[in-house]
Symmetry: C2
Amino acid sequence: MGKKRIDIRDVAALAGVSVGSASRVINGAVNVSQATREKVERAIALLGYRPSHAAQALRSRSTKTVGCMISDVTNPLYARLFQAIEARLRTEGYVLLLANGLNNAEREREIMALFQQRRMDGIIVTPGNERDPGILAALNTDMPAVIVDRDMRTRQDAVMFDHVPAMKCAVTHLLDLGHRRIALLVSRVEVRPNRRRVEGFRAAFRAYGLPCPEELIRRQTTSARATFDEVLGLLQSPDPPTAFIVQGTNTLAAALNAISAAGRRIPDDVSLISIGDPDFAQTHVPPIGALRIDPEVVADRIATLLLDRMRRTFADPAPRRSVVRFQFEPRGSCAPPRPR
Amino acid sequence: MGKKRIDIRDVAALAGVSVGSASRVINGAVNVSQATREKVERAIALLGYRPSHAAQALRSRSTKTVGCMISDVTNPLYARLFQAIEARLRTEGYVLLLANGLNNAEREREIMALFQQRRMDGIIVTPGNERDPGILAALNTDMPAVIVDRDMRTRQDAVMFDHVPAMKCAVTHLLDLGHRRIALLVSRVEVRPNRRRVEGFRAAFRAYGLPCPEELIRRQTTSARATFDEVLGLLQSPDPPTAFIVQGTNTLAAALNAISAAGRRIPDDVSLISIGDPDFAQTHVPPIGALRIDPEVVADRIATLLLDRMRRTFADPAPRRSVVRFQFEPRGSCAPPRPR
DNA sequence: GTCTGCGTTGGAAACGTTTCCATTGCAAGC
DNA sequence: GCTTGCAATGGAAACGTTTCCAACGCAGAC
């Protein structure tokens, strides 16, 4: 069994240099002569040598790995975000470890412990609970980190979405058209995006000098079934909403199903705005108005903040905050309400 | 700066035992007395000690990490599959490294190299190109691996989906109802699932003694826009299909949009079957018939095969093959074609 | 010709574990 | 009372790198 792993000593021996020099070539250090560099590179190619990541990580105290804790990759927004972050950090030599927190505090604590044990160079986190003591304790580290769209008074940098003005804009658009009974469907989870959306919703009514229809703010699960039932129920109620604002891909599809099942048409009978902009929103007839946010932009902000910290490029320890804007595209799914 | 990392020596010292004994406790070895175990555990808790993963991996030659290369997490099927695999392997102490191959051969080769350099304990791969020499070469390793739904004559275990009988079943259902002009929309990528679906489609016609309408087998991109245009175009053609079989979440939503834009109704004017079963398919009125496959089951098969190999539980080096069945749920989206 | 300084190199320590091997203590067998 | 065997333990080597430090060679200055 000559099946010995090839290590840096083999490379150094074949190249006729010391192990130290071989290492310097591998890491692109400056103080190395052209001749040595070439000899080592030739040896590496010849042997098909690949450095052991574990040994590198152990010695250099850098894993070149970033932990990413989101609630659920099954959520298309997160999936796209993850993909964009992965692409961006890969070009910088980092690899992503993805973990689904599933809005389960215990699980999230486990994940944080895992990230610490594996000595991630940095982490990107979106906890499902902003006050869980375990999570807060775990964040009390000097590990570079970026928090995504959560209100937590911790020392980490954060990237936030500007839900309030975005929502205000969408609601105002509907108010301008004459809608008064506007329903808002948000997820039940008590986290920043939901809070802020509701806040923006109310703010729009307030700015208009109108009372906010609190009973039309519906917090429910994001399952297709729950959404379908909710929308259908509202439409069949005595004083139905004339417009809906719904959140998310699955939710949007289910809302469309419910509206059509109730025999209503968009935009004549019901106006509709989506938070998030899945592809099929644009092919719908009429195209569904949406609050969209570009995952590439978000990924870029996250990566920039994190890279600064990981490379110690940015010395100021004060937490930074980067806000990404939603864009409102009205499209054809909104029209004045039908006179009763 | 007393900010020294806590290591196993600190634990051993505090517990009053040797480093070796501390290690044995940590790894749950058998030959360790109850007294020692307790002392060490107390010390660990007191110090908040967490073993260095890098050192463990270096010494024990096991990273407890599984690489997972899929084409694209943005695809809901893969997202759900990943999530299920992650949950399953986590209970066994493994962590998943997710990488998007994006059907890009060069990128996939990079990912394979990464997996090798980082010494994954095992890998799960779904290459976008089944014949790329780089990928094939990278798979010529003794690293435990599972290939998911790809036809590759390599030495790895594989989990396959039974597209042919599933598709045959769906098409036969339509043929039984009297449909003859059935359109099949599949992705353009040349990989097993697409090949097999087409195969099953043709087989169903053949078994029926009918010629297969080759011109209705449409290979296109899975973008919502392309699908919408394709379906609308077909519906407005002189001899339009009376039934559609479409693949995937986005595609299904776009097809629904196109059918409705063309002023047709399901199932009276057009019958529709979905490959894959997104939540909103069930809330649609009528509910959309679907070929469904349970991600949990697939994840379980993959995990079982892989764990066998990683633990060397299963000695036979011959590649194993596990086939997962689709289930056809006709639901209400299919009806006899309207007489012309 | 000697000295200084710089760029390059070799050698060895260190990173934090696991695992092997030898040793110890103790009970059982004779 | 002496040997044998086994469970538990301590100590040290090993895993494969990076990085520190000392040494070296050589060019230029004096």
